[in-house]
Amino acid sequence: MRIENLSLAYSAVVEVPRDERPFPWSRRTKKREIQALDNVNFSVGAGKAVALLGGNGAGKSTLMKTIIGALKPSAGRIDLWGRPHLLAPGLGFNRKLSGRENVILGGLAAGMTLEEVKDKAESIIDFADIGGFIEMPTTTYSSGMFGRLAFAVATHVDPDILLIDEALSAGDAAFKERAVNRVQEMCSAARTIIVVSHSTALVSEMATEGVWLHQGHVRMQGDIDEVSEAYLKFQAEGTETAQLDRTIADR
């Protein structure tokens, strides 16, 4: 995967505070441009696992959404050798359907063919381990049960490029361990992995390289331990929040 000069900006409508309106007929809203990604460049080789690090608003999730194609770049390009898959539990689910029906619907939404979903349905149901509830509408499920089923569907896809954005666990403690093992199995099968998590310990286990995003641009790139260390040091100094506040004030 190669990302070249990637930028993404969008406009948002914000309300103008009453005391900033000179006249009663002054506009109550104005457009503000948000530069979510700013000239991002990096590449990930086949068989590599990369962690995206960065604080809230750094552009990590925006970058993931741009890679899968949900958002369009304003400039630059992304070349992907293989179809990407974002691990998104619950994608396409309909709460009024039974668990079994949602396995089919969710599997199709995740990009599987009908034959693939049918082949994997029993394995997905076994992994979710929710017993007789599988035949009942998912409106009757606890949030934990729903999370287990959604996670089971999302992790039975065989992607070329696997994207994981803070979706590494679901359900109770016992299920969490199986969930992490399952994701690691997926990682070993996928050619390329990009993982986002605020847990630097977790991403250090999964990735060999790190990319630190800060306010939409790449601040550091390299060995995961070095990038993690620099990012943690930056966070410990408390400078990130202060800089974020300054950026918002500037905008």
Partner: protein
């Protein structure tokens, strides 16, 4: 926005901005085709979620347009002075109304199909967004065919008989679906920018219903035909009326002429709708 090229496996997918906003068409259509089974299952789930798989759900869906037809029959009977003893007119209104509700259901449900994130599909997947209104259009077609069966006894009771023009019903169904889908695509985009569009839509559709020969015979405006034909739904529902019950006036608009105008309108609407939607669908994830 997404393009793939056959090199050595695996395929290359590229994300980049385009000047027109339109994605590379060949890849876009191929990607939409890839999700055709998902569209069918999404539609089936939609039908089930609306309780149409239960006995009373199905009965209500069939009765609802019939009751509408009855109300309009009384309404037209009072306003137009046609009385209440004309079963032929009741059958005409109910038959046309089924066809109109097919159209309006496609517009309203397809236009709102991309609201509220659509189960995460807008923000967490690369499924072409057009698949969602497409699924809603499939749902509307499914329900239309089921409900059409309920019209048959009334057709027989009113003595509307069998006509050669009935063979056009499948073609009219396709055209109606295309027009509804095309308009829905434009409305879906407008609704992303102006949220009140979804509130105005039912009122606009109701006005359009009154201006079209659905609950009144198309022969009523023959003296003022030029004005009436400015409404593209005039030839459309003239064709539906003739297809259901045969021609009302041999000197009136011809079936082939009505079909020609309807076909032209459907073509323009679907092309405009497709281009509008495909060039804007990348913004849905940001604005939803």
């Amino acid at each position: 926005m997404e393009s793939s090229a056959e090199t050595e496996a695996p395929a290359l997918y590229t994300r980049r901005s385009t000047r027109t906003g339109l994605p590379p068409m060949r890849n876009y259509l191929a990607n939409a085709w890839r999700y055709r089974t998902f569209a069918l299952y999404w539609s089936r789930a939609d039908v089930k979620a609306r309780n149409f798989d239960t006995f009373f759900g199905r009965v209500w869906h069939v009765i609802n347009p019939f009751l509408f037809g009855l109300i309009y029959f009384v309404f037209v009977g009072i306003i137009g002075g046609g009385g209440f003893d004309d079963t032929e007119r009741l059958a005409l209104i109910v038959g046309n109304l089924y066809a109109w509700l097919f159209f309006s259901t496609i517009v309203t449900t397809s236009a709102s199909a991309i609201q509220s994130g659509a189960g995460g599909i807008l923000t967490q997947s690369s499924i072409p967004r057009m698949v969602l209104p497409m699924a809603s259009a499939i749902t509307a077609a499914n329900l239309f065919f089921r409900s059409l069966l309920a019209y048959v006894p009334l057709h027989v009771l009113a003595g509307r008989g069998l006509h050669i023009e009935m063979l056009w019903i499948p073609y009219l169904t396709v055209l109606t679906m295309l027009v509804g889908f095309g308009i829905a695509l434009v409305m879906a985009v407008l609704n992303v920018y102006f949220r009140d569009i979804s509130r105005l839509l039912p009122h606009g559709l109701r006005l359009w219903l009154y201006l079209s020969p659905v609950i009144w015979e198309y022969t009523r405006v023959l003296d003022n035909a030029e004005f009436a034909q400015l409404n593209p739904m005039y030839p459309a529902y003239t064709a539906w009326t003739v297809a259901f019950g045969g021609t009302l006036d041999p000197d009136g608009p011809s079936m082939l002429g009505s079909l020609l105008w309807f076909t032209l309108f459907a073509f323009v609407v679907i092309v405009v709708g497709f281009i509008t939607f495909a060039s804007r669908e990348d913004e849905f994830a940001v604005r939803n």
